[in-house]
Amino acid sequence: MKPMIEVRHLYKDYQTAAGAFPVLKDVNLSIAHGEYVAIMGPSGSGKSTFMNILGCLDKPTSGEYYLDSYAVAELENNALAKLRNKTIGFVFQGFNLLARSSLLDNVALPLVYSGIDKHIRHEKAAQVLNKVGLGNYLNSRPSQISGGQQQRVAIARALVNSPRLILADEPTGNLDSKTSEEIMALFDALNQEGISIVLVTHENDIAEHAKRQIRFRDGVIEHDSLHAVLASERS
């Protein structure tokens, strides 16, 4: 079976006034279906850029990226949008909900771009909101609920189109430790259901929830716990 994510010889340069600045330098990584991976590393290590590329929001300068067997580097914008819509669910640090829309409409939004009928959209959105424990707040606005609840809404939105992969960028960065634990428990449960999860964090206790930890430094993978285990088994 093909891996969920397969990255080979990935390079990403940013054009600056002083010339091309390399952010990712020959990154190679394979993530299997159903894996639970934490990506760590200091600011400027390239982990955010790497997440953007994984999320089909950015394109690599060179190298290959296969997402669920799609050769992402070769796809044009509309096909990338479709991947973001159907295969990936995003969870952001700042929740990124639409302030003017109800929770139901927020969660149903990805289905709008899949061209799904209104009553099915609302039905599915209500279903996932129930699942994250917000079934009683369907018509509330994001400003009327707490930060932890807002992140649950964002997770519901990520789930609504039944993605195979969830990408979470510092999902607990804006939350207190108790709420963070609740959100991480939700991620753990989703992973139990078989959804692959890749999350970026700089907190060790958050990264501990994942079964595999990858550390970036200066644009390269400095440490991969899977390889470390394999290496220790070999020795």
Partner: protein
């Protein structure tokens, strides 16, 4: 999908009501101005058309020439070079369908204690058809009345009102014109104002011979000051004019190279010139008004650009969860479109109301046509799409990562 986007557009407009209203206001004023100006222009054109058709169609007037007495020239119609025989000859022409010789003058008219000064026209029954006069009450005098110079008269509505008031039926009454008694046989239907603003109903029509013998005198027997002639169709006007010129030159023995002792005037051409001038005015009014529509469109573009900048982050979120470029484009385009259409509908109401107000307060005729409304609608919709496109495209071309990072 489309319904969801329409709902979003409505939401977005409601989120900033004052701004949306001000943007719409530009559209309302533009559309309102276009509808109002077109209503004024159309009203003027219809008024002109009405007075042209009241004049009679495809009309010529043949005037006798101006006499030259010792260097002092009198005006056209004074030389008495035309006579009834000329009129008979013109009526034989194939390109002419109706002819009426006319003698005119003004006279004091008396009935009981009332008196009134009006213009008296001496002519033959065919004049009624040529000038498109109809009878409200009574009958038209006949050709035999003309032959025997009977003292009968048809009176216009203004004359009837001034001499008889509302209560008395004028038909069968006897009035005095220049002291002679005339029996009123009919009252004319009202025609209203002529092109030059005269009251066409302020008139009395009597048989030609009666006018010549009993009212104005006749130095040369059979002579008339003018002959009215009508061509059967619009495309025969030029032919008719040439035919009449040739015929009359021949009958008056005018040598090659000498001036005519008469003149043929095409009244319909003169009227058409007036109509053309009105049309130009209407067009000009519409053009000036549409400039404000353009300004309204620029207002929409301006506000949409601000909106795209403000909502950069929202655009980034939408892109991250799967919106394609054309979804974003459509969303903002639809918003601009809804603003301009709602503005347009209110603008049409303002225009229609304004037209009614102008009609009541200024007394100017205004006519709102369905064409002017649909034109305003189509133009406003196109303005919305045209000026909404650039901001919408700008939104659709945003880089999702930068858009997500925007604060």
């Amino acid at each position: 999908m489309f319904g969801a986007m329409l709902g979003e557009a409505w939401h977005a407009m409601g989120a900033n009501r004052m701004r949306t209203f001000l943007t719409m206001l530009g559209m309302m004023i533009g559309v309102g101005a276009v509808v109002l100006m077109m209503a004024i222009g159309e009203g003027a054109q219809q008024a002109i058309k009405k007075s042209i058709s009241s004049m009679g169609s495809n009309l010529f007037i043949v005037l006798s020439g101006s006499p030259n007495a010792g260097g002092a020239r009198a005006g056209s119609g004074n030389a008495l070079s035309l006579n009834v025989k000329d009129a008979d000859a013109i009526s034989e022409l194939d390109s002419i369908s109706g002819v009426a010789p006319v003698a005119m003058g003004s006279a004091q008219v008396i009935f009981a204690g009332n008196n009134w000064n009006t213009s008296v026209i001496g002519t033959v029954p065919s004049y009624m058809e040529i000038r498109d006069w109809t009878i409200n009450n009574g009958y038209v005098f006949s050709n035999s009345d003309v032959r025997s110079a009977t003292r009968v008269a048809l009176i216009g509505k203004t004359v009837a009102d001034n001499l008889f008031g509302d209560d008395i039926d004028p038909v069968g009454k006897t009035i005095r014109i220049k002291q002679s008694p005339f029996l009123i046989v009919g009252v004319l239907n009202s025609k209203g104002q002529s092109l030059d603003g005269r009251d066409q109903d302020d008139t009395i029509i009597v048989p030609l011979t009666t006018a010549q013998r009993k009212l104005f005198g006749n130095q040369v027997p059979g002579s008339v000051r003018m002959i009215m002639a009508q061509a059967p169709a619009d495309n025969l006007m030029q032919q008719a004019e040439d035919d009449m010129n040739n015929l009359l030159r021949q009958r008056h023995n005018i040598r090659e190279g000498s001036d005519n002792d008469f003149s043929v005037r095409n009244l319909t051409a003169i009227a058409n010139t007036a109509a053309e001038a009105t049309r130009t005015m209407a067009l000009l009014l519409g053009a000036i008004a549409s400039i404000s529509l353009l300004v309204g469109g620029i207002g929409i573009m301006n506000i949409m650009l601000v909106s795209v900048t403000e909502r950069t982050r929202e655009i980034g979120i939408r892109m991250a969860i799967g919106a394609r470029e054309r979804d974003i484009l459509l969303q903002f385009l639809l918003e601009a479109f809804v603003i301009s259409i709602v503005g347009c509908v209110i603008g049409i109401l303002i225009g229609v109301g304004g037209a009614a107000l102008v009609q009541n307060l200024a007394g100017t005729d205004t006519v709102v046509t369905s064409q002017s409304i649909s034109l305003a609608f189509v133009v406003a919709a196109s303005v919305g799409i045209f000026f909404g496109f650039y901001p919408a495209r700008k939104a659709a071309k945003l880089n999702p990562i930068e858009a997500l990072r925007y604060h």
